[in-house]
Symmetry: C2
Subunit: 292 residues, 2 copies
């Protein structure tokens, strides 16, 4: 078997094209989706991320406002910015780029974002709704992964999904989304014993570990769908995933490449959520109810 690659670049482009239309329709109703991105300090990686988000938004027609704040800002000053945009009805999504400087409690900031504008889907009330199978806003990386299953008609019902990694931004919300879609779900992590015994049972294997090429061919059941969330540099400085792509491609039925797999989907989902929030506003004005 040689795995079919799940092309995240192509799928993200299709999603963007569709989003462009949705933004057009919103604009005809007098609404321009608007995303506020708050960047504190001069972290160069953060700067690149923010620029990428800005560009993606522009292409689709989403208005962005980048707020650049000094490294020395206090927690209360930063909270005041969040509050300001929480209350600004023209703003549909708010995102505070992480990491934040040491004097600021990052959780306090992200939890201060109004849940209805929480485009990252990290607010506890949104995580709670997701785990109660009543999602209002979704963390972008696992939400992006779900799009592959839709696009490639990969059924989840009754399938055994094994997730390696239990982070708050990937592993845990991924588990909720798989469970909400009727998969049987196993969550494994650094304390798991006999990991390979479990991964070999997976119909769908999701690797979100943060270790270069950790998942080998012998960890994968022949015919499994393998999702590689990793973005690591190997010894030679090359960008590689959490999956040994060359080996695993020989046994998996589907595999997301790195780069060009999960990565491009994350920003696409951020845009999708911003548009969705803007649409909700319009629907609410029309008197309709929407829970996403």
């Amino acid at each position: 078997m040689v795995a079919k690659l799940l092309d995240g670049k192509k799928l993200a482009m299709e999603i963007r094209t569709h989003l462009k239309q949705r933004v057009q329709e919103l604009k005809q109703k007098g609404v321009t989706p608007k995303l506020v991105v708050i960047l504190v300090g001069n972290d160069s990686a953060s700067r690149i991320y923010v620029r990428n988000k800005h560009r993606a938004a522009q292409k689709i027609g989403i208005e962005t406002k980048d707020i650049e704040l000094p490294q020395e800002i206090t927690e209360n000053e930063l909270l005041a910015y969040v509050k300001k945009y929480n209350e600004d009805d023209s703003v549909h999504g708010i995102l505070v780029q992480l990491p934040l400087p040491a004097q600021i409690n990052a959780e306090k900031i992200t939890h201060a974002i109004a849940p209805a504008k929480d485009v990252d889907g990290f607010h506890p009330v949104n995580i709670g709704h997701l785990f109660m199978n009543d999602p209002h806003a979704l963390p972008c990386t696992p939400h992006g992964i779900m799009q592959f299953f839709k696009k490639y008609n990969i059924s989840l019902m009754g399938k055994h999904a094994v997730i390696v990694g239990r982070s708050n931004i990937v592993g845990r919300p991924m588990a909720a989304m798989m469970l909400n879609n009727d998969a049987t779900v196993t969550i494994t992590h650094s304390k798991t014993k006999n990991l390979s015994e479990l991964t070999r049972q997976a119909d769908i294997l999701i690797a979100a570990i943060g270790q270069a090429e950790f998942i080998k061919k012998t960890d994968v059941k022949p015919g499994a769908v393998v999702i590689d969330v990793g973005m690591n540099r190997n010894d030679k400085g090359k960008l590689v995933g959490d999956v040994d792509q060359k080996e695993v491609a020989e046994v998996a039925s589907y595999l997301t490449p790195v780069p060009g797999g999960v990565g491009p989907m994350t920003i696409a989902m951020l845009m999708e959520q911003t548009v969705k929030f803007a649409e909700r506003g319009v629907q609410n004005v029309d008197g309709e109810v929407s829970n996403g």
Copy 2:
């Protein structure tokens, strides 16, 4: 092997004794823990539950206020009661007994309870914190189950916990608690294929299915810890669990009986959470920080 029984009656009594002391200490600081229980209509089972909660509270020294409201009450009228007790500083816990009459959206009511007074632990923001491994309030049934592992020194780290059932009040929060305590967690449900193959891998098996004596000896790995959350009537009208107790006792190392296992722990945990909320109030006055 003949399983050791995990005695919920005895453990609940120990917990109550300890709670009594904590309540005494609170009273010495001038605080009496107070639980408001709202009962709508005349459902006889609900009436019994409310009476049991009332009695358990009295024994410990928790003050309860039972609010009985007519079957025909409107949603807004009921919300006004919730709001009143949310704002009453002498009240530490609020509980609305379910089910509610058809004209009332139960979710809207339970989500209106202030998260800091949510003794049932069902508010989305509390569920979110739990799933982000930063628990503020815990659903009582899975929280009660956790007490058995503590009491009987059953280590969870690296153990494979298999949960049968994915309800919002047992299966899902149970999964979060096990994961937060370093178990590897599998969540199975009605759509799971080859269920027995999965349950036989469990070091710790939690049955929360709602089907009489569903789990048989052949579903259990010898030496497993088996937790039976079920409360069903069998053909003969006898109260039985989700586990075939007689058969499974032959292979499990530990087993919770039905009745007298998980059941008594649920009310004990409701009391514990009420006391904890009251203690938080005192700590906050003292200027300490507590996240439970």
